[in-house]
Amino acid sequence: MAIISNAVTIADAGAFSASLGSLTLIKTITLSSAAGTVSFVHGASSVVLDSTYPVYKFVYTSVHPAEEGAIFQVGFRDGSTAYDATKTTTNFEPIANEGDSSAEIAYQPAQDLAQGTGFQTLIRNNGNGNDECGSGEMYLFNPSSTTFVKHFIARGCGHHQSDYTTSSFVAGYCNVTAAIDAVQFKFHSDNIDAGTFKLYGIKDS
């Protein structure tokens, strides 16, 4: 049965015809206990990460490391079971400390990759004091393309272990033509103690 109002079809064939918004929440992972990694794998646990959406958005909030100074990172899977897709990236940061004695913007050559298969830094040197955490978001463009490299752009807000605010601007591309079908977040050492991770799909029509 179709629902038609004022000659406009609102719903038909088991689906709404009217727009219900272009940002769709696909999956939320809130850690109830410490974990080594948080992964979004296409086809597992209701995760969609394929050609359904042209753009995917990840939002991570109140991510707290088990280890003082841990680096929050991301990796991409491109066909195997490993999160080792080759990447070339950029990373720059404005920082300022609570003591008002240090503030600058600088490129971070130790936090970028040049055809590296390792994980990419999203927020560096996070403090693990009880109230310290990091938050941010990352866009992944057209992960299912098998023609082009896959670009990603991230911006993170960190509480540096030395009581700085850090804003990490990260961008780059997975230099592979294989589809990216999974994304994994972790700290470079030890566990993610707490945090919420959300995956959204953004429609293009």
């Binding site: 940002l23 769709t24 300022a96 609570e98 003591g99 009880n130 807000c157 804003s167």
Partner: protein, 201 residues
């Protein structure tokens, strides 16, 4: 009465079925000034209902030339004075093709300050000059961790520059943030503008 189409329940009992994918960005409230005002304040609707809040500020026109749009946060009292540590950098380019550069702005960051945080550079107040941008506030109702925020804006600087500002920081309190207030530098009025608050599930 439920509505079932092609064997799929679309809505029932006054709500969409849980299986229906809906948009996750919800407009909570919108304020458009009909006359100049000292502030635009959002003091309700910020809670644990949403994980992330986004504020879009559009066509902000200052009453006074060379004024920055500011933001501050309420953390339990009636005052908008939550302690913050922030960073601020901007890119600029003048209409005559000169002065293109990027720089950190120590005048516009905060170090454990309760004062308001600039979201823009100095906005001109000629008739067609204004600022636009957005502010993201993460997990404001959390009572364990500090609260991070990030913003980006672009404005017509009073000297006829395009000024693109990036701001980040944390509200260094564990109390929940339940109010957000936008003002102009120096306590002058916001002459015109629209600010919308969205919740992201």
């Amino acid at each position: 009465m439920g509505v079932i189409s092609n064997g799929t329940t679309l809505l029932d009992a006054g709500a969409l079925d849980a299986g229906i994918a809906t948009g996750e960005m919800t407009l909570i409230t919108s304020t458009t000034l009909s006359s100049a005002a000292a502030n635009i304040t959002f003091n309700s609707g910020i809670s644990s209902t949403y994980n992330t809040y986004v504020f879009k500020f559009m066509d902000i026109h200052p009453a006074t030339d060379d004024s920055k749009l500011l933001v501050n946060f309420r953390d339990g009292s009636t005052a908008y004075d939550a302690t913050k540590t922030t960073n601020f950098f901007r890119a600029q380019h003048r209409e005559n093709g000169t002065n293109g550069n990027i720089a950190y702005r120590t005048d516009d960051d905060l170090a454990q300050s309760t004062g308001a945080q600039p979201l823009t550079m100095d906005i001109g107040n000629a008739n067609d000059e204004s600022a636009n941008g957005s502010l993201i506030l993460y997990n404001p109702s959390n009572t364990t961790f500090v609260k991070h925020f990030a913003a980006e804006s672009n404005c017509v600087y009073s000297g006829d520059y395009s000024m693109n500002a990036y701001i980040g920081g944390y509200i260094n309190v564990t109390a929940a943030i339940d109010g957000v207030q936008f003002t102009m530098e120096g306590g002058t009025n916001i002459d015109a503008g629209t600010i919308k608050m969205y919740g992201i599930k």
